[in-house]
Amino acid sequence: MPRLVSHPDEVKIVTSRFGKGAADIDRFLELGGYESTRKALAEGPEWIINEMKASGLRGRGGAGFPTGLKWSFVPKVSAKPKYVLVNGDESEPGTCKDHLIFLHDPHAVIEGTIIAGLAIGAKTGFIYLRGEYRYLIQIVEKAVADAYAKGFLGKNIFGSDTEFQIIVQTGAGAYEVGEESALMESLEGKRGIPRIKPPFPAVVGLYGGPTVINNAETIASVPHILAMGGPAYAAVGSERNGGTRLFGISGHVNNPGIYELPMGYNLKKMIYEVAGGIRGGRTLKAVVPGGSSTPVLLPHEIETLGMDFDQVGKAGSMLGSGGVVVLDDTVCMVEFALRTISFYQHESCGWCIPCREGTDWLKKSLTRFHAGFGTMKDIDNIQYLAENMMGRTFCPLGDAAAMPTLGFVKKFRKEFEDHLDGKPCPHAKHLDVALV
């Protein structure tokens, strides 16, 4: 069972019910559960969307698109049914926040799904979890069944004449399915291959109907926002970045874990104070700030860096999924780059040539390099390949592979050069990364 951690700097909003048995519906109701849904039902779509806009909530999957605005794009009138889709395919390396949400507070996800449905006028919502999360799927399925039994879901939710149904869906192992249109394909029983955009899901989504798709953390934030009010939620965070974020700190820190901190919280403080500093008193070498696809940051770049979408963007990386991966001075950056690219090579769906070929060639080049058979030209080739993948694919997986690669080569070029001409790796540990 994943261990819960705590720190005084945390502002517990989404995590406020963690460890309190809230997966049980009666316990959840004692803790104020489903009040926001009742309120949303009484106040109506316009009020919900205005509160969401005022909250400054931005998509927690990684793109950071304002949630209220996203919901407002869905056409009011549609010939085809509208849908709400909750993305719980959490697969970005370094990311495990939704794991805890499903485990400790599945009803918050259900509430958020219903509220999103009320906001856009949908009658059906899907909660899609990655297949590996079977025990969490069972928890969510039980929560959904309990909500039906109480009349919170069904033909007449909370005794109103409004209908809302929820279907829980399992994946079967595919990072790419975390991309919104690939997730829709998967939910339609197909290979998880991205669709070309436009049209965007808000207009043509699941089964061709207007669809809102949000990350599980985004959805779980919604009932809390309506309970505390949009402006109060916004005030917790930083400018244009409302509220809190579930930061998952992993790697070489003393106290790894999921911490809920205000948006804009300083990254250095997050590593040294919240997560207890570098393991074994070693030195920080680098930080991957938001899941494996986000470009690496150096120690001097995190000194005054606030963790929100805009500040991390300005620093040349991305806030992404909030998965902070901390590396100490024992790490070989060539090996780390190789392991990162091996993942994207394995997960590329093969639909777009720049991604399929690019990730494969990057992996081949880095494998050769890591083995000590690289040449100076390889370093430039790796950079050239990565640059030519950027922006040339249907979905962001190509970018997700290219961006960190560019970061590693640019910021650790010296370390790549140290691997040239069959010289042994200057770092203690060396492993073959051969995931086939």
């Binding site: 390396p93 079967a172 192992g173 990072y175 494996s292 998965g323």
Partner: protein, 170 residues
């Protein structure tokens, strides 16, 4: 289809599938869950599994295979009774994921995608399984085991071995 006479699945799973295909706006949406649940029962996605699922969804078996081959959790050969999946992705790698994988290879005497001779264990190196903050971690079938050391791994294996001895291998 008449599930009682024709299905290759247990009556419970056949009944579950009867309901599953009616749950969605489009029948085919049941495909991926059906493949995974069938694998849970049969042990792998066999040709017979794909044929029956195809018939239940009114699509071709080739269509089913095309989709099934996309998803990494679905396999076309039997695995061990306990499929040990080791994450070696970055967060686990930094905290000893490869050492755990090496230890498991040595203990079980098999490599990536190998099955032990008694059929009790199979081993697989997998991508991120979503337990990064509690690394290194493995998943045995659907059960997570986190914050591992080699000693803890030995205990986990011993527990499953004892379980297999009472229940019998697949």
């Amino acid at each position: 289809m008449s599930t009682e006479t024709m299905s290759i699945f247990s009556p419970a799973l056949a009944t579950r599938f009867d309901a599953l295909v009616l749950k969605y706006p489009v029948k085919r949406s049941a495909l991926i869950p059906m493949l995974l649940y069938a694998q849970d029962e049969v042990g792998y996605v066999s040709d017979a599994v794909m044929a029956e699922i195809a018939e239940r969804l009114s699509i071709t078996a080739l269509d089913v295979k095309n989709v099934a081959s996309y998803y990494s959790m679905l396999r076309f050969k039997p695995a061990g009774k306990y499929n040990v999946q080791v994450c070696t992705n970055i967060s686990c790698m930094l905290r000893g994921g490869y050492e755990i994988f090496d230890h498991l290879q040595e203990k079980l005497g098999i490599g990536h995608k190998g099955v032990t001779a008694d059929g009790v264990f199979s081993l697989e190196e997998v991508e991120c399984i979503g337990v990064c903050c509690w690394a290194p971690a493995i998943q045995v079938n659907y059960d997570f085991h986190d914050e591992l050391t080699n000693d803890k791994v030995d205990q986990v294996l011993a527990d499953y071995k004892a379980k297999a001895a009472t229940e019998g291998a697949r």
